[in-house]
Symmetry: C2
Subunit: 224 residues, 2 copies
């Protein structure tokens, strides 16, 4: 392998960073709002892709927030909505992210991101998390194909984008369905199972490797 390509939301960035503001704004409902928000965000990305009605991830994320608040009978003001959406530009990274990326960079691996997010959303969250140095000119978005993961068209842009052979690219995600999509598209895949008790999806294209953290990846570099 010459390159590791990382999913962003849920893999580098903790989408549940939003929970504390959800709880501040809607005491007693923070967790269920955050859970529904994430669930619907993904659902809408799949449904819109399948309907052939692409909308950028920022809009899909906001739609999912609106639905979730409504379904939980929470009245949300325009200002609260803006505050919650802003969280998506300031998500926390998991503790293994920076040390893991540093190790991989040190041994000469190419590093990239492939995400549902729009380029501007991604640039902002990467910069705010102080990860820009790792991903100079290597942030790839579904925006170029206007279809969300796990469409093969999303993953297929990697080889030409990185100018690296598909067989030398490892795709890394904590989202098991995303891993199935990349495996199905022909990439070597690494499922990060941080909690250790998530269940693998039954989608037919399981990960090539299962690891617990980004810091476990360095042993997969090509033998020199």
């Amino acid at each position: 392998l010459k390159a590791f390509v990382f999913d962003a939301y849920g893999t580098l960035f903790d989408v549940f960073s939003v929970t504390s503001l959800c709880e501040d704004l809607f005491p007693g409902h923070g967790k269920e709002l955050a859970n529904s928000w994430r669930k619907k965000q993904l659902e809408y990305s799949w449904l819109r892709s399948l309907m052939g009605r692409y909308r950028g991830f920022w809009g899909v994320t906001e739609d999912a927030l609106v639905y979730s608040a409504k379904s939980l009978n929470l009245e949300i003001t325009a200002n609260e909505r803006a505050q919650l959406m802003d969280c998506y530009l300031h998500l926390a990274t998991f503790p293994d992210v920076k040390p893991g990326l540093e190790e991989l960079e040190k041994i000469g691996m190419h590093l990239a991101i492939l995400s549902n997010g729009e380029p501007e959303m991604l640039r902002a969250v990467v910069e705010n998390a102080d990860l820009s140095n790792f991903f100079t000119d290597t942030i790839f978005s579904v925006e170029s194909v206007k279809e969300f993961k796990p469409s093969p068209r999303v993953y297929d842009q990697l080889s030409s984008g990185l100018k690296i052979n598909k067989r030398e690219i490892g795709f890394v995600s904590a989202n098991n369905w995303d891993v199935n999509g990349a495996s199905s598209a022909g990439f070597a895949t690494f499922w990060i199972q941080r909690s250790g008790f998530e269940t693998s999806e039954e989608l037919g294209y399981p990960p090539t490797h299962v690891v617990n953290a980004i810091t476990d990846l360095r042993r997969f570099r090509s033998p020199k």
Copy 2:
């Protein structure tokens, strides 16, 4: 309108008919198993469509059951799995289904089904519920396009299949996302909101009409 086309699972047939057997087999876990099973069944239908890896709905339904049991730490034998899958051939109908269909038939409406299910699955559940008379030669399946709802290709088969103009077909579903799919594909749509407290999805293609039961549909027939 000359024809009403009904979604099957969740609209004519109660997918939560499975709950009592789930509870018999796994006391204390029936409801969460049934909920997860349905949720994953839909997720897998969307994900596989998007991956370009179609698998028939029977297989997708079984995959979703396997995942759900595993994720809830329930050990399920091959025999229990077969018993639960068999429920899908014997789902109960909602109380408004037979009276509603009878009324519509009486006023000369064409009636059809458009479903994710495979033709054999659909024929069996329709026959076991004693609804075959309403749907002679008018059971349409995604199997012909090998992509699940809400792909427009699924809905687009209706006009040629029924030999009725698209503008004269009303699509009826209790699944709001399915209604959005049919609206987006250009059909007049009817969302059946039986409980009265479900939240509309934020997908951009809301129902043309909202009703509480199939018995509410007869007033939408074309004026003579």
